[in-house]
Amino acid sequence: MEVLLFGIAKDIVGKSEIRFSETDELPGSVGDLKRLLTASYPEFGKLSSLAVAVNSEYATDAVFLTKDDEIAIIPPVSGG
């Protein structure tokens, strides 16, 4: 499972993606992923918002994750 990182999320983690290996315990849902991430990198808890996209659509915390999904962390957007 790979999780893409953008903007400040990339700076917090220090790379542009997080890779979970076969042996890692995979987050089962968007909510699990957010909890896991915030536990490992407390800086995520300080952001104005933290969204997750699954297969390039915004996903609620209840959405389940599978290893084939394209998952991305969406920190507060600031286009325009």
Partner: protein, 139 residues
């Protein structure tokens, strides 16, 4: 000609937009151009750097354009955002619409830029002389 123009590009040429939105049934054409401003909170900005999650950003931009076309009677809609480093006065985003009468394109253009800023996965970093800041990241 396509009714919708949705693009993420390296460089915006705002001079082309008028002809892109021109349409025989449109008596009104509105364009909003967002550009790099020199000062943020009295601090001099050297440049802005934009990055995007491109395939999702294009999808979100298309949704916004389609929503605008449901709300107003528009003949053409355009949303174009630039990525990469942009200097002061350079255009970074352009949105616009054309319609039979002016009210629809004025209102739609406002909706396009406001919704883009709220939903589209694009991130802006302000580069100052001694630091850089991801805009809106923290409360």
């Amino acid at each position: 000609m396509e009714k919708l123009t949705i693009e993420i590009v390296d460089h915006i040429d705002s001079a082309n937009v008028y002809s892109e939105l021109s349409h025989p049934q449109s008596g009104g054409i509105c364009v909003f151009v967002g550009a790099v401003r020199e000062f943020t909170n009295n601090e001099e900005v050297v440049a802005l750097e934009f990055e995007t999650y491109k395939n999702m950003a294009l999808k979100e931009m298309e949704k916004i354009a389609l929503e605008a076309m449901e709300k107003w009677e528009l003949n053409k809609v355009l949303i174009r955002h630039a990525v990469g480093a942009k200097k002061v006065e350079e255009p970074v985003v352009v949105v616009g619409a054309s319609s039979a009468h002016r009210t629809a394109c004025f209102e739609a253009s406002r909706f396009l830029i406001d919704t883009l800023k709220e939903k589209v996965p694009i991130w802006k970093k302000e580069i100052f002389k001694n630091k850089s800041v991801w805009v809106s990241a923290h409360p």
